[in-house]
């Protein structure tokens, strides 16, 4: 295979478009794709401040790298979720990246600042904290962005993430989620910051290739609490389909965004017209107390009980029961 641009031996093939690029040309192609989506979907302008939701993985660090190389004002934000060694390593990767590139990284420490950790939020039915973890991330990324005056929060969701989320929402016919799935979630309240996904048309393999070629040191292993999550099963199914039908994931997602989404009734929290301020934290909510504050109360009660019984224990990273992920998939 030869590079489409310079005809040198290729390194990264893009099977869905039957093209390939060498390691020298690939990063430019990748960044051009991101720039095209930012412009086409009107995600943000050059004079706007971007807060990148950083997890230490290839997608969020690759996105942060790309945005800074494209000349955007992009700072990072990392949440210390308290998932034992995994959180420690992902924090190290995030901090090292920021230090290496001279970038600002904001941090929230759940245990120190809020009195609980994500493993305190295990769902009693599913045995997994993924849905609650998503709420934690959305809440803090939005709150910090609003408090510090950022215009937009950018996440590293890629084509595979979005296609898997779409498949999950179709399987369960979550019409509220389907109606608002997209690369841009506009602000509908002064306390809600616009959210964008600049990598949503780039495959997971393409973001990994970018990170490897650009020598971004990212955390390779997946979150131990996500083992067995439905979102990973959906990705596996879609990649099995992709093996014989290159482009299937892209057509599934982009076809939905172009033709299917408008047919689905929009709904859910972000589109709610009767938003008010949470009586405790002031963040937008449809009730008196927001979902995060109610959930944090449960987490703190669990943390206190656990500490009284066992003392603060490191969280097990194996043997987590398998069960469903949140309908919305990953949330970083």
């Amino acid at each position: 295979m030869r590079c489409r641009r310079c005809r040198a031996p290729a390194n990264v093939e893009i099977r869905r478009s039957r093209t390939a690029y060498c390691a020298r040309c690939y990063p430019d192609w990748f960044r051009a794709q991101v720039q095209a989506r930012i412009d086409h979907d009107r995600m943000f302008r050059r004079d706007e401040r971007v807060l990148v939701a950083v997890s230490g993985g290839k997608d969020s660090l690759g996105l942060w790298h790309t945005l800074t190389r494209l000349g955007y004002q992009a700072d990072g934000m990392y949440i210390r979720l308290g998932i034992a060694d995994y959180s420690r390593r992902s924090q190290e990767k995030s901090e090292a990246f920021a230090a290496r590139h001279g970038l600002t990284l904001h941090q929230v420490d759940l245990e120190k600042d809020h009195g609980f950790v994500v493993p305190d939020l295990l769902d009693t039915r599913s045995g997994k904290p993924c849905a609650a973890c998503g709420t934690v991330k959305r809440y803090h990324f939005n709150r910090v962005a609003a408090d510090l005056g950022y215009d937009v929060v950018a996440t590293g969701h890629n084509l595979d993430d979005e296609a898997a989320t779409l498949l999950g929402n179709v399987v369960h016919w979550n019409t509220d989620y389907l109606g608002r799935q997209g690369p841009v979630l506009e602000s509908t309240h002064p306390g809600l910051v616009r959210k964008v996904k600049p990598l949503y048309r780039l495959g997971e393999r393409e973001t990994a290739a970018y990170a490897i070629i650009e020598r971004i040191d990212y955390i390779l292993e997946e979150c131990p609490m996500a083992r067995g999550a439905k979102s990973l099963a959906y990705k596996d199914m879609l990649n099995t389909l992709e093996e014989g039908q290159p482009g299937a994931k892209y057509q599934f997602l982009v076809g939905f965004l172009k033709h299917g989404r408008k047919s689905v009734q929009s709904g859910g929290f972000d589109q709610a017209s009767d938003l008010r301020e949470c009586t405790r934290c002031g963040q937008p909510t449809t009730g008196d107390l927001c979902a995060y504050c109610r959930m944090a109360d449960r987490g703190r009660r669990k943390a206190v009980l656990k500490e009284a019984k066992y003392g603060r224990q490191p969280v097990a990273t194996t043997g987590v029961p398998t069960e469903p992920a949140s309908p919305g998939g990953r949330d970083d």
Binding site: M1, A10, N11, V12, E13, R15, A20, A23, G57, K58, D59, L81, I83, V118, P129, C130, C133, G134, D160, D161, A164, G203, E204, R205, T207, A208, A209, I212, I213, L220, E221, E222, C223, M225, A226, R227, A229, S231, L232, K235, D236, N239, T240, E242, E243, K249, A325, G329, R330, D331, D332
Partner: protein
Amino acid sequence: MRVTILPDRQVKEVDARTVADLLKALGLLRDAHIVVRGEDILTSDVRLTEGDELEVWPVISGGA
């Protein structure tokens, strides 16, 4: 050829003519993995030789 599968660095000896054959022999999906030789990412048509030392990087992340 000697193949190291990340992130656990599991080592396997595999006979394969090309990168595509290698992934098939290992039962791995092309869109979920990257094959690296030295510092180079390899496309699926690259021919392999017996003495090659390769790494297979998973690319899937998610859940939380």
